[in-house]
C-alpha cells in the first residue's frame, strides 16, 4: 500500500524491514514459499477501497439510508419484534471489555463476562420457570432444532410432534436439524374456530416412537395454547418430552412453561434488549430442569459457580465442557462454538432493569394494546380480526374479505406504514390473512393511525 494503514501498525516500511531482518528474510513473500506457484493468486482482489474512515462512513450510511423509515414501527412479529431497547443496555454491550473479548477460556481474567452470562442464565430460569439455561443458541429456530435432537438422545426415540400452525421458518430449520439423523416430524391439526391444538389428533399421531411434543406458547399466530397442561400430560403418557417455545415478553402475564410440566423450554430472547437488525443477531433460549442426565445432553456452553482454589472467593467458570466439541469432538452434544454471548449480556441487563414489576407491566401493556388493535381493526368492514376465537398476546391474524393482502400491504406503504406479515403463501387455508403484531412501541396514536389507514385502504 502506498501509505501506512491505520489498522496496520506494522505497515510502516521501516518496521517491516526491521522485522524481516530479525526473521532473516528478504521479502514477506519468502514466508509464503509453501504455497505452490500454481495456486498463487496474482494481482489485487477486485474489492473497492481502501476507503478512509470518513469515506466509509459516507458510503455505508448512504446505503443504509435507502432503508425506509416508517411513521410507526412495523406491525410485524412472528419471531423478531419491535420492542424498545433501553439506553443502558446499549451502553453496556458497547463496553470494549465485553465487545472485543472472546469465549472466557481464561476464567481468572474474564470473571466479568462469566458472571454476566451466569446472571443471564439465572434470569432466564426465573422467567421461564426452569433451573438450568445455557449461555445461548443462535436463535429460536436453531434452539428448536437442538432441543429436538436433545429429546431424541434422551428418549432414544426419533419422532417430534409439532403444531400445524408452527412458524414456517422454524419448521424449516427443525427439518434441517433433524432429518440428517433420521428424525421425523409430524404435524398436529388445530381447531378451526379457536386455533387450539387438537388433543385427539395429537393422541392419535404420537406413539412409542415419539421423542417430543412441541408447542409454541403463544402460538406463531399469537393465540395462547390454553390446553398446555393437557398437552403435557398426553406427551408424558407417551413417554415423550414436552418442549415449549416462548416469547419471553409474554411471561410477565402468562404462566411459565416450568409450571405446566415442560421438560425443555426454548424461545427467542431478541426482545430482551436486542435490536431487530433485520433478523440477526438474535438470542436462542434453551432451558431445562435440574436433572443431571438432562443437563449432560444440553447443547452449548454452561457457566457455573465455583470458588478460587484457596477457597476464599466465589467465582464463575465454563463447566461440563466434556459435552462440547472442543473436548468431545464427534461425540459432542452439538457443534456450537461461537454463540450469541453479547446478546445474552443484553438480555441480562434488560431483565435486571425491568425487574418483576417491569416485566409484568410490560406484558400487560403489550397484551392490552394488542387487544385494542384487534378490536379496532376487527370493527372495520370486510375484516376479521383475530381469525381465531382465543386469547391473543401480541400477535393476531387479520383476514381481509374484499381485498388481497398484497393490495392492502401496498396501500399501507403509500401511507408510510408497514402492515403485518402476509400468511397467504404458507397458510393458504387462512385466506387473505396477515399476521399483525403490536408492542409497547405502538402507542394508541400508532394503532389509531393504522386503523384509519386500513379504513381508507379498504374503502378505496
Amino acid at each position: 500500500m502506498s501509505k501506512p494503514h491505520p489498522y496496520l501498525p506494522n505497515s510502516v516500511p521501516e518496521i517491516k524491514d526491521r522485522m524481516m531482518d530479525e526473521i532473516g528474510i528478504q521479502s514477506i513473500d519468502d514466508l509464503y514459499s509453501d504455497i505452490p506457484e500454481a495456486l498463487r493468486f496474482h494481482g489485487d482482489l477486485d474489492i473497492p477501497g481502501p476507503l478512509t474512515e470518513s469515506e466509509v462512513r459516507e458510503q455505508v450510511s448512504g446505503i443504509l439510508d435507502k432503508n425506509w423509515s416508517f411513521r410507526s414501527p412495523p406491525f410485524l412479529g412472528g419471531g423478531v419484534w419491535p420492542h424498545y431497547v433501553p439506553a443502558v443496555v446499549d451502553e453496556i454491550v458497547h463496553r470494549a471489555e465485553f465487545l472485543t473479548s472472546y469465549t472466557p477460556y481464561q476464567p481468572e481474567i474474564t470473571q466479568g463476562m462469566l458472571q454476566s452470562i451466569f446472571e443471564y442464565q439465572s434470569l432466564v430460569c426465573e422467567l421461564v420457570g426452569m433451573e438450568v439455561a445455557n449461555s445461548s443458541m443462535y436463535d429460536w429456530a436453531t434452539a428448536l432444532g437442538e432441543a429436538a435432537r436433545m429429546a431424541s438422545r434422551l428418549t432414544r426415540k426419533s419422532q417430534i410432534a409439532v403444531p400445524s400452525l408452527i412458524s414456517p421458518s422454524r419448521l424449516a430449520v427443525l427439518e434441517s436439524y433433524t432429518e440428517p439423523v433420521g428424525m421425523s416430524i409430524v404435524q398436529i391439526d388445530y381447531d378451526k374456530t379457536t386455533g387450539q391444538l387438537e388433543l385427539e389428533d395429537l393422541k392419535e399421531k404420537i406413539g412409542t416412537e415419539t421423542a417430543a411434543v412441541y408447542i409454541e406458547n403463544p402460538s406463531y399466530l399469537g393465540f395462547l395454547e390454553e390446553g398446555a397442561e393437557a398437552i403435557a400430560d398426553v406427551a408424558h403418557d407417551a413417554k415423550a418430552l414436552f418442549i415449549v417455545g416462548v416469547d419471553p415478553i409474554s411471561l410477565g402475564l402468562i404462566k411459565p412453561p416450568g409450571e405446566y410440566e415442560a421438560d425443555i423450554v426454548i424461545g427467542e430472547g431478541q426482545p430482551l434488549g436486542n435490536h431487530m437488525n433485520y433478523g440477526g443477531p438474535l438470542l436462542g433460549i434453551i432451558a431445562c430442569k435440574s436433572d443431571p442426565r438432562t443437563i449432560r445432553q444440553m447443547p452449548g456452553r454452561l457457566i457455573g459457580v465455583t470458588q478460587t482454589q484457596e477457597g476464599s472467593r466465589r467465582a464463575f467458570t465454563m463447566t461440563l465442557q466434556t459435552r462440547e466439541q472442543h473436548i468431545r469432538r464427534e461425540k459432542a452434544t452439538s457443534n456450537i462454538c461461537s454463540n450469541q454471548a453479547l446478546n445474552a449480556v443484553a438480555g441480562a441487563v434488560y431483565l435486571s432493569l425491568l425487574g418483576p414489576q417491569g416485566i409484568r407491566e410490560l406484558s400487560e401493556l403489550v397484551a392490552s394494546r394488542a387487544r385494542y388493535a384487534m378490536r379496532r381493526i376487527g370493527e372495520l368492514p370486510g375484516v376479521k380480526a383475530p381469525l381465531f376465537n382465543s386469547f391473543h398476546f401480541k400477535e393476531f391474524t387479520v383476514q381481509f374479505r374484499e381485498k388481497t393482502v398484497s393490495e392492502v400491504h401496498l396501500d399501507l406503504f403509500d401511507r408510510r406504514l408497514h402492515g403485518g406479515k402476509p400468511l397467504v403463501d404458507k397458510f393458504p387455508d387462512l385466506g387473505e390473512s396477515a399476521l399483525y403484531c403490536v408492542t409497547e412501541r405502538h402507542t394508541k396514536r400508532d394503532i389509531d393511525r393504522l386503523v384509519s389507514a386500513l379504513g381508507e385502504v379498504l374503502e378505496g
Binding site: 509464503y32 423478531v80 473479548s101 472466557p104 481474567i109 454463540n339 432493569l353
Partner: protein, 511 residues
C-alpha cells in the same frame, strides 16, 4: 521493552440478585392510555383459566444506576482486544474491531429493520448483503454463497448438509457415509460431520504437519463423502500438497470442505476455490474483524462452486437493474438453517471492514499477520523450554504453535502455567492444549493489528516466564496473581454435589 505491572479490577461484585431493594425499578414501562383502558377490559381477567402467571418471576429489583454500575464493574473485570494489551488467542484471530464499524452498525435504519419487511423497504440492507457476498466470493474464489450461518460451526454444518444433499441427489448417500478429518482439525469439524449424520475418519498428520498422503490414499474410497481441511492448518503451516489432496478426494467422488478459520493468512495470496475446495466457510468475526462479543455473535458465510449452488439455503439476495430482492428459487435447496437471514449486524461491520481495507489492504493485512507470527516464532523457538514442533525451518503462516513439553519435563511448569503467568503481565494467553497433536501446546496468533511493541512485550514476557520456570518455578505455578481472581477450582464447578448453573440452584445450595 519493559513489562508492565498489571492489576485487573476487582470489585467483589455481588450477583445482581444480591443487589437492590423491594419495589425498586431500573426502567419505567409506559402506562396504558386511559382511553384505551376504558376500551379493553382488564387484561388480567381475560387470560384463560389456569394460564395466568400467579407468582412473579424472582427478578432483582434494582434502580438504573445500580444496574449500570454493576455491569460496568463486570466489564472492568473482563479482558478485550481494545481494552487490553495483546490477545494472541490462536485460531480465534483476535484482531482489532474498528470503532467506526460499531458506529455504522448502530444506524437506526439497520437496527430497526424487521426481517419480514417488504423488500422494497429494506433496499439498503439487501444492497450491502449483496455487495458483501460479492467481495466474499472474490476473496474465496468461489461461485456462490449464503450468508445465513450465524457462526463458523454453523457454516460447517451447512457445508456438510450441502455435501450430503449433493450425494443424495446422485443417489450415493447410502454408501457415502464418511467424512475424513485430519487429527489437527478444530473440534467443530468432527462435531459438524456427526450432526449431519456422517461417520468421521481421522487422518494423521505427516512430519511437516500436513495431511499424510499415503494414509489418505489408504482410507479414501466409494464410502468417502468428503474431507474437511483448514489450510493453513491449526499448526499455522500451509499444506503444499493441497492440490494433490483435492485430486485424491475428488478422484473417489468426494467433496473438499474448507474450514476458513485460518483464512486470515492468505487473503489475496491464494484462494480456497483455486486450491480445489468445493465448499468453504469463513468466520467474519475472525478474518473480517467483527467483534467477538465475549463468545458471539459471529457469522460464518458458506461459499460453493457453481455445481453446488442449487443446494444453498433460501432465501438468497439477488439484484436486477439496481433493485434488490429475495429469491426462494432454489429447487434443490437444503432449506433453512437460521430463522431469518443470519447475523446481519456482523455482516454490516464486515462489509465496512472490507471497504476500509480494499483488495490491496486485505492482502497487506494477511501479509502482516504472517510477518507478525513469524517474528514471534523466530524470537521464541530457541528460548529455553519452548520448541516449535513440526516442519522445522519452514515458515509459519498467521499463527505458530509452540510446545512447552521440554519446560514441563525439566521444571514442572506446564503450558497452562505459562498461560496463566502471561495474564499477570496484562497479556491474554494463547490457546492452550490445542491442536491436540502438539503436547503442551501454546497456539499463538498475534494478528496484523498489533504494533511491534506489543509483540516485543509478549516475547519479553515469554522469556521472563522461561527464566522463572528454571529459577523459581513456584512463581509461575502459582499464577495468576494480578487478575481479578487467582486460580479457580474448576472441578468443583462440575461436581454433582456442587454443580450450580443458576441463581435458583445457588439459593438451594448456599442460602
Amino acid at each position: 521493552m519493559s513489562l508492565r505491572k498489571f492489576r485487573q479490577a476487582d470489585w467483589e461484585e455481588p450477583l445482581i440478585f444480591e443487589l437492590g431493594s423491594e419495589e425498586r425499578v431500573g426502567f419505567s414501562v409506559p402506562s396504558l392510555e386511559p382511553e384505551l383502558r376504558d376500551t379493553v377490559d382488564d387484561i388480567v381477567e381475560l387470560v384463560p383459566n389456569g394460564m395466568l402467571r400467579t407468582r412473579p418471576p424472582m427478578l432483582p429489583e434494582v434502580s438504573e444506576i445500580e444496574v449500570l454500575r454493576h455491569f460496568i464493574h463486570l466489564s472492568q473485570m473482563n479482558y478485550g482486544v481494545s481494552s487490553g494489551l495483546f490477545y494472541p488467542l490462536g485460531s480465534c484471530t483476535m484482531k482489532y474491531s474498528p470503532v467506526i464499524n460499531e458506529v455504522l452498525a448502530g444506524h437506526p435504519r439497520l437496527t430497526g429493520a424487521h426481517p419480514d419487511q417488504d423488500v422494497s423497504s429494506v433496499q439498503g440492507v439487501l444492497e450491502f448483503m449483496h455487495e458483501l457476498k460479492k467481495g466474499y466470493l472474490e476473496v474465496m474464489g468461489m461461485d456462490d454463497a449464503s450468508l445465513q450461518p450465524a457462526a463458523g460451526a454453523h457454516g460447517e454444518y451447512l457445508g456438510i448438509l450441502i455435501t450430503r444433499a449433493y450425494h443424495a441427489d446422485r443417489g450415493e448417500l447410502d454408501s457415502r457415509r464418511e467424512i475424513i478429518i485430519p487429527d489437527a482439525a478444530h473440534g467443530t469439524n468432527p462435531a459438524s460431520a456427526m450432526m449431519a449424520g456422517f461417520k468421521t475418519v481421522e487422518i494423521p498428520s505427516d512430519e511437516d504437519g500436513g495431511v499424510d498422503l499415503a494414509a489418505l490414499k489408504s482410507i479414501v474410497g466409494p464410502q468417502t463423502a468428503g474431507l474437511m481441511l483448514t489450510n493453513p492448518n491449526t499448526l499455522g503451516i500451509f499444506d503444499s500438497n493441497v492440490a494433490e489432496i483435492a485430486e485424491i478426494v475428488h478422484g473417489v467422488g468426494g467433496l473438499m470442505y474448507y474450514d476458513g478459520a485460518n483464512l486470515n493468512a492468505i487473503m489475496g495470496k491464494c484462494r480456497p476455490g483455486d486450491m480445489g475446495f468445493d465448499v468453504v466457510h469463513v468466520n467474519l468475526h475472525k478474518t473480517f474483524s467483527t467483534p467477538h462479543g465475549g463468545g458471539g455473535p459471529g457469522s460464518g458465510p458458506v461459499g460453493v462452486k457453481a455445481f453446488l449452488a442449487d443446494y444453498l439455503p433460501v432465501p438468497d439476495v439477488v439484484e436486477m437493474e439496481g433493485v434488490y430482492s429475495l429469491s426462494w428459487d432454489r429447487p434443490k435447496t437444503i432449506g433453512k438453517i437460521h430463522g431469518y437471514h443470519g447475523n446481519v449486524g456482523p455482516m454490516l461491520r464486515a462489509f465496512a471492514y472490507m471497504l476500509t481495507l480494499g483488495g490491496e489492504g486485505l492482502k497487506e493485512a494477511s501479509e502482516i499477520s504472517v510477518l507478525n507470527s513469524n517474528y514471534i516464532a523466530s524470537k521464541l523457538k530457541d528460548v529455553r523450554g519452548y520448541t516449535l514442533p513440526f516442519a522445522e525451518g519452514k515458515p509459519r503462516m498467521h499463527e505458530a504453535v509452540l510446545s512447552a513439553l521440554k519446560m514441563e519435563e525439566e521444571t514442572g511448569v506446564r503450558a497452562l502455567n505459562v498461560s496463566k503467568k502471561l495474564l499477570d503481565y496484562g497479556l491474554h494467553a494463547p490457546t492452550t492444549y490445542f491442536p491436540l497433536i502438539v503436547p503442551e501446546a501454546l497456539m499463538i496468533e498475534p494478528t496484523e493489528t498489533e504494533p511491534l511493541e506489543a509483540l516485543d512485550m509478549f516475547i519479553e514476557a515469554m522469556k521472563e516466564i522461561s527464566d522463572l520456570a528454571y529459577t523459581n518455578p513456584e512463581e509461575v505455578l502459582g499464577a495468576p496473581h494480578d487478575t481479578t481472581l487467582s486460580k479457580l477450582d474448576e472441578a468443583r464447578a462440575a461436581h454433582p454435589k456442587t454443580i450450580c448453573l443458576s441463581w435458583r440452584t445457588y439459593c438451594q445450595l448456599y442460602r
